[in-house]
C-alpha cells in the first residue's frame, strides 16, 4: 500500500509489522518520532502484545532490550548520536551475548560542539562493536531494511543496527510502499531464540571468559558476522520475490560497469551523487557510484568486484577519523585491487552541512582531471580555519575551537581578545 508519510512513521510501521514484543524508548533527536509512533500503536492496541517501556537513558534502553531479548522477546529500540555513545557499553554487550536486538540509528553528529544534524559519526564510532550495520539510502529502503534486520538478527543471533540519515530521511515525507502483515509474516518467522532464560532449562548467560578462550570467542563473533555476507544477498533476493522491489543487499552499484571513476558513499547522499553522476555521464565521463548498504560486516568481495574497472575511487563519507581522515575510505582502500593512492577521501556533510550537486560537480571534476587531493574536506571554509590555526600557533591557550570559530564568524563579541 502506497503512503505519503514521514520516514520515521514509515519505519515505525515497518517495526510494528515485525511484531516486536518489547520496545524501549528514550527520546533523542532525530529518532524521536519513531518511538513516539510506536508508543501510540502500543497504547491504542494496534501493536499487541507488546511492552512499551519509557526508560531513563539510552544505556537503560539497550539494557532493557538485552534482558527482554535474553528472555525470548523480540526487542527493538532506536537512538542516535550521544544516545548511541551513552549506550555504547550495552551495545557491545548485546553483540557479545549474541542477542538479536534491532535498533534504528537516526544518524547524527557527535558533540561537542553539540549538533543535532546528520552525519555518520555516531554509527561509525560503533563499527567494531559486533553489530551488523545496514545503511538506508531512502525511506523505502529504511522501511524494508527493518524487515530484513529482524530476520537477519534472529537467524544469526546477532544484533542489527539500521542506520538512516537523521532529518534527511527521518523527517522527510516520501511516498513509501507499506507491505501487508501477511507479506511480513511470510518473510519473517516468529522469533526462536538460540538461548533463552527459562526456568525449565536453566543456563548461565554472560560468563567471564579469560585468556584461555577469549580469542576464540572473538574469532567466532567475527566468523558469525561474516556469515551475513552470504545471507544478506540471498534474503534481499527473497525480499524482492515477496515484496516486488529491490531493497537491501550488501552494495548498490550504479553505472559502474565501464566506470573509470567510482564514487563510494553510504546513505541518503547517494541520491544526490547519482544525479550528479547522471549529469556527468551525459557529458561523457565514465563515472559510476557504489553505495554501501552493509557497512558491517564489510562486503570486501562485493566492493572489490564493483571497483574492478575503476582507475580512481572517490569515497565520500559523512564521518571523520580525526587525525587520520576517512573511515569508510580505509575500508574501501583495503578492498580495492588497485593502488591505494588511487582512493581519495572526501569528508563531507559533517554536522548537517549540505552536500550540493554543485559542490559534487566541482569535486568530481577535479577527480576526473586528476587534481583531487588524497584527503578533501568538501566545502570547507579554508580561510576561516587557516585564521584559527594561525592564531592558535601564536597563542598557547587558545580556548575551544568552536568558540574560536564563532568568534571569527562574529557570532561572539570579541571580549577576550
Amino acid at each position: 500500500m502506497l503512503k505519503q508519510i514521514e520516514g520515521s512513521a514509515a519505519v515505525a510501521e515497518a517495526v510494528a509489522l515485525c511484531r516486536p514484543e518489547v520496545i524501549c524508548a528514550y527520546p533523542i533527536s532525530p529518532q524521536t518520532h519513531i518511538v513516539e509512533a510506536l508508543g501510540r500503536m502500543v497504547t491504542d492496541g494496534r501493536l499487541a502484545p507488546c511492552e512499551f517501556i519509557n526508560v531513563e537513558s539510552e544505556f537503560a534502553a539497550m539494557s532493557v532490550a538485552i534482558g527482554a531479548s535474553a528472555a525470548g522477546a523480540r526487542a527493538y529500540t532506536a537512538t542516535a548520536s550521544q544516545g548511541l555513545l551513552f549506550m555504547a557499553e550495552a551495545v557491545y554487550n548485546a553483540a557479545g551475548l549474541g542477542l538479536p536486538i534491532v535498533m534504528t540509528v537516526a544518524n547524527r553528529a557527535i558533540g561537542a560542539p553539540i549538533n543535532i544534524w546528520n552525519d555518520h559519526t555516531d554509527a561509525l564510532s560503533q563499527r567494531d562493536c559486533g553489530w551488523i550495520q545496514l545503511f538506508a539510502e531512502d525511506n523505502q529502503e529504511a522501511l524494508d531494511l527493518h524487515l530484513q534486520a529482524f530476520r537477519l538478527a534472529e537467524e544469526l543471533s546477532l544484533p542489527v543496527m539500521v542506520c538512516m540519515d537523521g532529518f534527511i530521511l527521518t523527517h522527510a515525507y516520501e511516498r513509501v510502499d507499506l507491505p501487508t502483515q501477511q507479506q511480513v509474516d511470510a518473510y519473517l518467522p516468529p522469533y526462536l531464540p538460540r538461548q533463552v532464560l527459562d526456568p525449565a532449562e536453566p543456563i548461565s548467560i554472560g560468563a567471564m571468559v579469560g585468556p584461555e578462550a577469549f580469542m576464540e570467542v572473538r574469532y567466532l563473533a567475527h566468523a558469525k558476522q561474516r556469515q551475513a555476507l552470504d545471507l544478506i544477498p540471498s534474503w534481499a533476493e527473497e525480499f524482492r520475490r515477496i515484496f516486488g522491489r529491490d531493497s537491501g543487499g550488501l552494495t548498490h552499484a550504479y553505472r559502474v560497469d565501464d566506470a573509470e571513476i567510482v564514487v563510494v558513499a553510504l546513505g541518503s547522499v547517494l541520491g544526490t551523487i547519482k544525479d550528479t553522476v547522471d549529469e556527468m555521464r551525459t557529458g561523457g565521463t565514465r563515472i559510476g557510484v557504489l553505495g554501501i548498504g552493509c557497512f558491517r560486516p564489510w562486503p570486501t568481495a562485493a566492493v572489490r568486484e564493483a571497483l574492478q574497472t575503476a582507475k580512481r575511487v572517490v569515497v565520500l563519507e559523512k564521518s571523520l577519523a580525526v587525525g587520520l581522515g576517512g573511515i569508510v575510505s580505509n575500508n574501501v582502500a583495503a578492498s580495492y585491487a588497485g593502488s591505494p593512492d588511487r582512493v581519495h577521501t572526501v569528508i563531507a556533510g559533517l554536522g548537517g552541512r549540505a552536500i550540493t550537486r554543485q559542490s559534487l560537480h566541482r569535486l568530481l571534476g577535479q577527480a576526473v582531471e586528476g587534481g583531487l587531493e588524497p584527503l578533501t574536506f568538501l566545502d570547507l571554509d579554508h580561510a576561516l580555519v587557516e585564521r584559527v590555526i594561525a592564531r592558535e600557533r601564536g597563542q598557547r591557550r587558545s580556548g575551544p575551537i568552536a568558540e574560536g570559530i564563532l568568534r571569527d564568524l562574529g557570532v561572539v563579541a570579541a571580549r577576550a581578545g
Binding site: 531479548s69 527459562d198 567471564m208
Partner: protein, 335 residues
C-alpha cells in the same frame, strides 16, 4: 512483621533449623532439598558473606516462586566468582550483562515474561553495593520509578571488593579502603558522605523495601517471601560482611553481621508503600567498638593513641539509627 518469631525450642529464631521444629517453621536453608541455587565450586573467598547471602536469598526466592525464577546479575564479585568459564555455579536461569544495568536487564526480562503471559515466572536483579548505589543507580532508580516487576537485591559489602577494595558510596565513615587510606590525620573514609539506598528506595514509593543481614536467616527469608507476594518494584538490601575487604577472620562473617545490627549501625527493617512497617529490635545493644574492633579496616582507630573522637562519631551514627528506626523500643535493657 513478615514472620512469626519462633518460640523457644532449645534455640529460637536464630538457628537455621532445629530438629524440634515443624517443617513450616524451618528455614529454607534447613531443608535437605533446598535448591542450592548458588552451587559448590564457586570461587568466593573463604567465609564470603556475599556467597552466603546470595544462596540464602535466591534459595528463598526459588522456594517462594515454586522455582519459577530468572535472575540478572551485575558485574562484581558475585558474578566473577560464580561464572568463570567454563563453570557456572548457578542452577537458575541467570544472565550477567554489565556492571551498571542489572536493574534494567531485570526490567527487560520482566517485560518479556509479561508479554509472553508468563506471570508465574518472577525476576530478580542483583548486584553488589557498587553496582547498586553507584554505577547501577540510574537503572535502579528507573526500574523503581516505573514500578517494574523486579525484585532487586543489593548485597552490600560496603565497597568495591572485586577490584581490590575501593570506596563506594556505601562505604561507611572511617573505613579504610584502598582509596580512603587513613594516612596522616585522615581517619579513613570521610564522614558526611555516602548514600543510604533503602531510604532512597522508599522515597520511590515502591511496594516493598527491606534490609536484612546474613546473621538473621529467618528474617531474610521471610523478607524474600514477603517481597514475592507483591508485584512491582521491590528492594532488599542485604548486609554481607567481606572477610577480605574488611579484614576480619573468615569465620567471623556472621558474627560481624550480627554486631552491625546489634550496635545499631545497620538497621534491619521492612517498609511497605514507603512506610516502615516492622523493625527488628536490637536483642542486646552493644557499643560500636565491639563491631569495629575485629575489623582491620578500622584498625587505625585503635592504635596508640586511639581515635576516641572518631569512634564517638560512629557511635553517634549508631545512636541516630536507633532513634530514627526505634531499634531498641520495647527491648529490656540489661544491666
Amino acid at each position: 512483621m513478615s514472620y512469626q518469631p519462633i518460640r523457644f525450642y532449645q534455640t529460637g529464631t536464630f538457628t537455621v533449623g532445629n530438629r524440634l521444629l515443624p517443617d513450616e517453621q524451618r528455614s529454607v536453608q534447613a531443608n535437605m532439598r533446598r535448591t542450592n541455587s548458588l552451587n559448590s565450586g564457586h570461587r568466593a573467598c573463604q567465609g564470603c558473606g556475599e556467597a552466603l547471602g546470595a544462596r540464602y536469598t535466591i534459595d528463598a526466592a526459588m522456594e517462594a516462586t515454586q522455582r519459577q525464577l530468572v535472575a540478572a546479575n551485575a558485574t562484581g564479585c558475585l558474578e566473577v566468582f560464580s561464572t568463570p568459564y567454563p563453570e557456572t555455579s548457578w542452577q537458575i536461569p541467570w544472565i550477567h550483562s554489565l556492571f551498571g544495568n542489572a536493574a534494567a536487564v531485570g526490567t527487560g526480562i520482566a517485560a518479556a515474561l509479561r508479554v509472553k503471559g508468563r506471570h508465574d515466572v518472577r525476576v530478580i536483579a542483583q548486584g553488589g553495593d557498587g553496582g547498586t548505589t553507584d554505577i547501577g543507580f540510574g537503572c535502579l532508580s528507573g526500574m523503581f520509578e516505573r514500578n517494574d516487576d523486579v525484585l532487586y537485591i543489593c548485597y552490600d559489602n560496603e565497597g568495591y571488593m572485586n577490584t581490590g577494595v575501593q570506596r563506594s558510596s556505601a562505604t561507611p565513615p572511617a573505613a579504610r579502603t584502598n582509596t580512603t587510606m587513613p594516612l596522616g590525620q585522615s581517619a579513613g573514609n570521610r564522614f558526611g558522605q555516602g548514600k543510604y539506598l533503602p531510604a532512597i528506595a522508599m522515597a520511590h514509593d515502591i511496594p516493598y523495601v527491606a534490609t536484612a543481614t546474613v546473621a538473621e536467616l529467618h528474617d531474610l527469608e521471610a523478607k524474600v517471601r514477603r517481597a514475592m507476594e507483591f508485584r512491582g518494584a521491590r528492594y532488599i538490601h542485604v548486609f554481607v560482611p567481606c572477610p577480605l575487604g574488611w579484614g576480619h577472620d573468615s569465620a567471623a562473617t556472621i558474627r560481624i553481621a550480627r554486631l552491625a545490627k546489634e550496635t545499631g549501625l545497620f538497621p534491619v527493617f521492612e517498609a511497605e508503600g514507603g512506610r516502615v512497617t516492622h523493625v527488628s529490635r536490637i536483642k542486646r545493644k552493644l557499643p560500636v567498638e565491639e563491631y569495629l574492633r575485629p575489623q582491620q579496616r578500622y584498625a587505625h582507630l585503635f592504635r596508640d593513641p586511639p581515635r576516641r573522637d572518631v569512634i564517638e562519631r560512629i557511635q553517634q551514627l549508631a545512636d541516630r539509627n536507633i532513634l530514627r528506626y526505634r531499634l531498641t523500643d520495647g527491648v529490656e535493657r540489661r544491666a
